[in-house]
Symmetry: C2
């Protein structure tokens, strides 16, 4: 035990951490990474780091997460060595691929949400589950723990519908059509979405062009009960908050552990009380799911996990090798989607995919007989009911319901990329499109992005524009243009790639 | 690109890190964990974290590691997004168990030493190598990289001898005997040692009772050339500095990845130019190496790695289930070792083990014919030559060469633990002894520790003292005593534990 006076470092570092002078640490018998218990006005546990110069002996340096637990700063605090974190012991088990029980996963997720684990511990957990995978039980427990450590919404009316797209495909603006179609047919669909991390625009980034998207879970409930649907940013609610903590570790490692992805998706559905969920699984080179076989496994796993959690899940394996529609970037995509709502004018890939997935939800929710969901979805678009519903949602979220697709501003700086020869567009992949859109400023600059005039496999003539880059800032346009020109999609002359002489039989 | 003014957070956090306001981060298109390049007076790369309140837009918060690169603080700096760290890509490969090449491991270790990796990345690397293991090539490359990223010592005279003990056995003070025995026979043995992290005293903690132990590698060379041997703390040299960075990650995870342990041991030997190394591998329950089979594998791997690095390695598998000698804790152990040097008085386990291992080195170095090393070692002790050499080493390191074992002060507060019944000492393991010694203040309080009167398997009578606890502070004695009494070693009445009736043949 040791009496120390406090010194506050006014920095949030995402964990409960304290700094001890090495002399005090030795006296206490603790090493960096150990925990101490701090007895003061409240009692709490913190992770130790040591220093030989930042705090003098007799002083405890505390970061903001710890600081916030105290009221009286002039009083010294008692510091005692603490036992190893139980969650750290659970992580150690996972490293050794030993079985864990539900209570251990619950405790671990609570400690993640409460910022009681260090980056070292979190990263070991993520890495171990990436390498070892998880059992069905463990995934279910993880999902339940992620639900229980955040807000949940209890609707009085059921069924609750929901939809999720596995990421990786640019221009996948289908939620802007699916949500109003489903809601227009009397079903509740409180859709929480993400912002893009590595993409050109998540659904939340898109919807923000039309209305605010940051609401509490209580507000999401009210909006949904009022107009049948919502299109909000999940990050502003406190739904499944563990997910953001995990993503913050996964991102720098460039990994997305499969079983945590399952848990993360389904926790968000479970937390809003979803009964019926449709999953959009884009498949193909350059997506998160390269092959149909992997898509089928993912579908089975999502359906199985949904069943364990009491949700009906249907999955649609979709074509993911090219962008959906022909616009990428928030305002450009919203413009394209609104145009479809207003007039059914727009790319077939967008209308077809949206109607197919909305149709599945209409059938699952009992709004359409089996095999007639897609037609009802298309009819809801054609009749203008989907547009009407979208306006209600925009208004309920505080936006201007009278906005028209033509009103939506896109970046004022534009530049075209032209075909360098006659032929067919060959190499032209999702990642390239996303990179150009991001360099142009998407998703932060709403008006930035890319309009695609020619997709993979389409015929071009030399000098035809292949795409147009939009930016809000000239320097970003220059940046995107330079990269786009340097990495111009490959055009080949004619579809015949190489002739293999048929020597067999002539020898 | 963005112009930002600097704000300094005067905290070392072990990595090159900067804080961006979330608004600026979005504008730059970077997320937490991404890297930015800072152009100013010098150009450097740093890991991004984001905040919505700690730094305002337009300001770059920098921690001390980054701060130290700048001279002129009033000038704004240019910040641009940087590519993903190449070392992060190497770590990703390791997660996926893909082969890596030597240059990649070199770069990774350089980035570890230069604090260019985040805790998240380091932990993923450690976890992946813990789970997947490493190939022989990878271990060799890791070892070479650990050598090359630190100081090395080039001696003019050869052979250079060295010794290493795998940890876990309390009281393992044998280096205090082996080094002077070997040096007294004309061989150079520049022994770097560690301080205890979880133990009751590393060799460096022990030697510090007799002399300073913190020297640069140049000083280690000079001491060794002058008197033939040195007993110093490796942490004060800049030898294999990557090791400390790795330990800082491994420690909170309670793991010691096997192949990194190999690399860490051998890097320290390689860096001082060792030609002949003896390895002490204590085996038994409660040690790091539970079975003889595992000890043999470790021996083969160390010999193999030594061969790849041009070192002769011999291994001794030793009995590790009980403490070596009967004293645990810095001053107590030094007293015990000095007594042996002065008069050959002391526990057989200590004298036998030290002579056996020193003997192997004497044979390897050509100072004794095959099979006669141990006898020469014992003779070196008996003749007083080892004591004489130890005095020279103490003097060369700045200590008092005339110190006698009786002069060494041990903790003034003592308490005995008594046998609660007649019988034999049964459960009495290394971890228990270490815990009591640490609670009493070891290794930080040099005089704290434990004197063991009865070891496992020895006969006791009710009321016999089993051990004596020494402490420098009364409160620590009370602490250690309370725990020792609560967890008193189990005494059984008689050696017969349980009678299993021999029913076979009588039915």
């Amino acid at each position: 035990m040791m009496q120390l006076k406090l010194e506050h470092y006014n920095i949030k570092i995402g964990q409960h951490k304290v700094l001890l002078n090495i002399v005090d640490a030795k006296e206490l018998g603790v090493n960096p990474g150990d925990r101490v218990r701090i007895r003061g006005h409240q009692s709490l546990s913190a992770i130790v780091d040591t220093t030989d110069d930042m705090v003098p002996p007799g002083t405890l340096g505390v970061f903001t997460e710890v600081y916030e637990h105290f009221e009286d700063w002039d009083k010294p605090v008692e510091v005692v060595p603490s036992f190893r974190s139980k969650s750290a012991a659970v992580i150690k088990k996972m490293l050794d691929k030993k079985p864990v029980v539900q209570d251990e996963i619950k405790m671990l997720v609570s400690d993640i949400v409460d910022e009681n684990l260090s980056d070292v511990e979190l990263s070991a957990f993520i890495t171990a589950s990436y390498i070892h995978g998880m059992t069905d039980d463990e995934v279910e427990w993880l999902t339940r723990a992620m639900i229980d450590t955040g807000d949940t919404i209890e609707f009085d009316t059921h069924p609750i519908m929901d939809k999720h797209s596995i990421g990786g495909v640019p221009g996948n603006k289908i939620s802007l059509l699916i949500v109003p179609i489903v809601a227009a047919n009397g079903l509740l669909i409180p859709k929480t979405s993400s912002r893009a991390i590595t993409g050109a625009g998540g659904t939340a980034d898109l919807m923000e062009v039309l209305s605010p998207v940051e609401f509490s879970s209580q507000e999401v409930k009210e909006i949904t009960e009022k107009v049948g649907g919502a299109l909000v940013w999940g990050g502003a609610t406190n739904i499944a908050p563990a997910d953001d903590k995990l993503i913050k570790i996964e991102y720098p490692l460039s990994i997305d552990p499969y079983y945590q992805m399952l848990a993360s998706i389904m926790a968000k559905k479970g937390a809003i009380g979803a009964d019926n969920v449709v999953m959009d699984i884009p498949v193909g080179p350059g997506t998160k799911v390269p092959t149909v076989q992997e898509g089928q496994k993912l579908a089975r796993d999502l359906i199985n996990l949904g069943h364990r959690l009491g949700m009906n899940v249907e999955c649609a394996i979709t074509y993911g090798s090219s962008p959906i529609g022909r616009r990428v970037g928030p305002s450009l995509e919203v413009k394209e989607a609104m145009k479809v709502l207003e007039s059914m004018e727009g790319p077939n890939s967008l209308i077809e995919k949206s109607a197919a997935l909305a149709g599945i939800l209409l059938e699952m929710g009992g709004a359409a007989p089996r095999d007639q969901g897609k037609e009802l979805a298309l009819e809801t678009l054609r009749s203008g009911k989907a547009l009407e519903k979208m306006k209600q949602i925009i208004e309920a979220q505080g936006g201007d319901p009278n906005i028209k697709s033509d009103d939506i501003q896109t970046g004022q700086y534009t530049a075209d990329i032209f075909a360098s020869t006659d032929g067919y567009v060959m190499e032209f992949d999702n990642k390239w499109i996303i990179e150009i859109a991001r360099l142009a400023g998407a998703p932060n600059d709403k008006g930035a992005g890319v309009a695609i005039h020619k997709k993979r496999g389409e015929q071009v003539k030399k000098g035809d524009p292949i795409l147009t880059i939009y930016a809000e800032k000239e320097i970003k346009l220059d940046n995107a243009l330079a990269t786009a020109q340097r990495t111009n999609p490959i055009i080949v002359e004619g579809m015949l790639l190489r002739r293999i002489p048929g020597t067999y039989g002539f020898q």
